[in-house]
């Protein structure tokens, strides 16, 4: 009985998480593209900027973070579009469950398929960009927390633009200013570590941003979807 009640309780979250992960698994080609984008653009930097290790070292952390941001932004556009087009988003809106929970499930699935792979690939890029070895752990930690923030905040933007025909460009315009604090503290975490300072304070601020985003972004996204998806 208890387990049944528990299943009912979290069916919104778990069901949409499972569904979106399954969809991602069946379209694994699409899922790989943010990571491939991430790696390809990072290859452009030594080609365009400088191949010298001493100079790359200085820009490594910031560049990896900017790439991660752009890769997330690219994948953000598709978060609700297919659901909006095939009508399952409306089904979600009319179910009696609380909307933020299923949305959190969708966002979690998005992070697991974009943010997490980016985080896992980042040490490799750090190696290629000759990031000092003290920077690896801060890079991975900050990206893990930071990309989760990016997914959560981006979901609000995606919800605001879902019904617009050319929402993708507008989405990046709306969401980019909101991403800036994340990138500030994300790069600060890595550069503090490289400079030999204590890198936990900026990471803690990223953690606080993550906590606030988990609490607020699903609510804002739910409100936005109710406005825009019914339009």
């Amino acid at each position: 009985m208890a387990s049944q009640a528990a299943r009912k309780m979290d069916s919104g979250f778990a069901a949409w998480l499972r569904r979106d992960l399954l969809l991602a698994y069946r379209r694994s080609g699409e899922v790989a593209s943010p990571v491939i984008f991430f790696i390809m653009v990072s290859t452009l930097i030594p080609l365009g900027l400088t191949p010298e290790a001493a100079q790359l070292e200085k820009v490594a952390a910031g560049m990896i973070w900017v790439m991660a941001l752009l890769a997330t932004l690219l994948s953000m556009d598709g978060l609700f579009t297919s659901d909006y087009q095939d009508g399952s988003l409306e089904q979600m809106l009319i179910t009696p469950q609380l909307l933020p929970l299923p949305l959190l499930g969708k966002i979690a699935a998005h992070w697991l398929t974009t943010g997490l792979p980016l985080t896992l690939v980042s040490p490799l890029l750090g190696l290629m960009m000759s990031l000092p070895s003290v920077g690896y752990l801060p890079l991975v930690c900050s990206l893990a927390l930071g990309t989760a923030c990016l997914s959560l905040v981006g979901a609000v933007g995606a919800a605001l633009t879902v019904s617009l025909r050319k929402g993708g460009l507008l989405l990046s315009l709306l969401v980019m200013p909101l991403y800036m604090p994340v990138i500030i503290f994300g790069t600060a975490t890595v550069s503090y570590a490289v400079d030999g300072l204590n890198w936990l304070p900026p990471l803690a601020i990223l953690g606080a941003m993550f906590a606030a985003s988990v609490a607020l972004c699903p609510l804002a996204a739910a409100g936005a979807l109710r406005v825009t998806a019914s339009n």
Partner: protein
């Protein structure tokens, strides 16, 4: 406290407590027609006050305030720069609060105020950035420095741009209002974070930017006209906001009979 919770539950349940006169102004304020007529009475006085205070502040600041020991006369741009930067930030909160009132109490007029506040705030932010650049050249030797405060103002400009872009993206007025209100509210969370980043980010690059908290370090003869200018900018902001809102009222209510009567009366008389 019980009267307060009574009011609150009335609001939450959507019952207008018309029997209590103390709240009537609040409901009347929600009527675009009432606002249009009433603001028409305020406008001449408010404009006159804004003009007067701005004139006093400008003449005082530009002509009578003492010359700065290090910067000479170039410091005088402060009398435009600081009030503009001030209003650019308060303007964002005014916009976000108007949006929140619209979402919570479903007041038509507050959505109109919100829409009107966006371009005014964006222009003020631009003025602050522009005068900052003009000021930066003689004092820092560069038009642009990636200082935390300057960058945060640029982000503020982007936030305004986002709200404005969303306003124009929707065909339905209702959806545009609600969507941009949500965006404005989400952006509010961003502003304190950006301001806090001054302490952590690029601390090496922290040339003194004038804050009001450090006002006592400024000479009183310089500070007083600045204060007058800030008050003048607030008054000017109120005038600009009311004018934009009135414009928006006429546009959105153009199909109602009172607007038609107003327009035909103006055209006829």
């Amino acid at each position: 406290m019980s009267w307060l919770s009574d009011k609150f539950s009335n609001i939450l349940s959507g019952e207008s407590s018309k029997e209590s006169p103390s709240w009537q102004w609040f409901y009347r304020l929600g009527s675009p027609r009432w606002f249009y007529q009433r603001s028409g009475q305020w406008l001449p006085w408010l404009s006159l006050a804004a003009l007067l205070v701005l004139a006093i502040g400008l003449v005082w600041g530009l002509a009578f305030a003492p010359e700065d020991a290090k910067q000479g006369n170039s410091f005088r741009i402060i009398y435009i720069h600081v009030p503009a930067a001030f209003l650019a930030q308060s303007g964002y909160f005014i916009m976000a609060i108007a949006g929140a009132i619209g979402l919570i109490w479903k007041m038509k007029i507050s959505y109109m105020v919100m829409k009107a506040a966006a371009p005014i705030g964006a222009v003020l932010t631009f003025i602050a950035l522009f005068t900052g650049a003009v000021w930066g050249k003689p004092t820092w030797g560069a038009y642009w420095v990636w200082d935390a405060r300057i960058t945060s103002m640029l982000i503020l400009l982007f936030l305004y741009a986002g709200v404005m872009a969303l306003q124009y993206a929707y065909h339905s007025v209702d959806a545009a209002s609600k969507a941009s209100a949500i965006l404005a509210l989400v952006g509010t969370v961003n502003i304190p974070i950006i301001n806090k980043s001054v302490d952590w980010w690029y601390t090496l690059h922290q040339p003194a930017t004038i804050k009001l908290t450090s006002a006592p370090s400024m000479h009183m003869d310089m500070f007083m006209p600045l204060l007058v200018m800030i008050v003048g900018f607030y008054l000017f902001y109120a005038v600009a906001l009311i004018l934009h809102t009135r414009n928006e009222i006429l546009r959105r209510e153009r199909k109602t009979s009172w607007v038609r009567e107003l327009v035909t009366a103006k055209a006829g008389g």
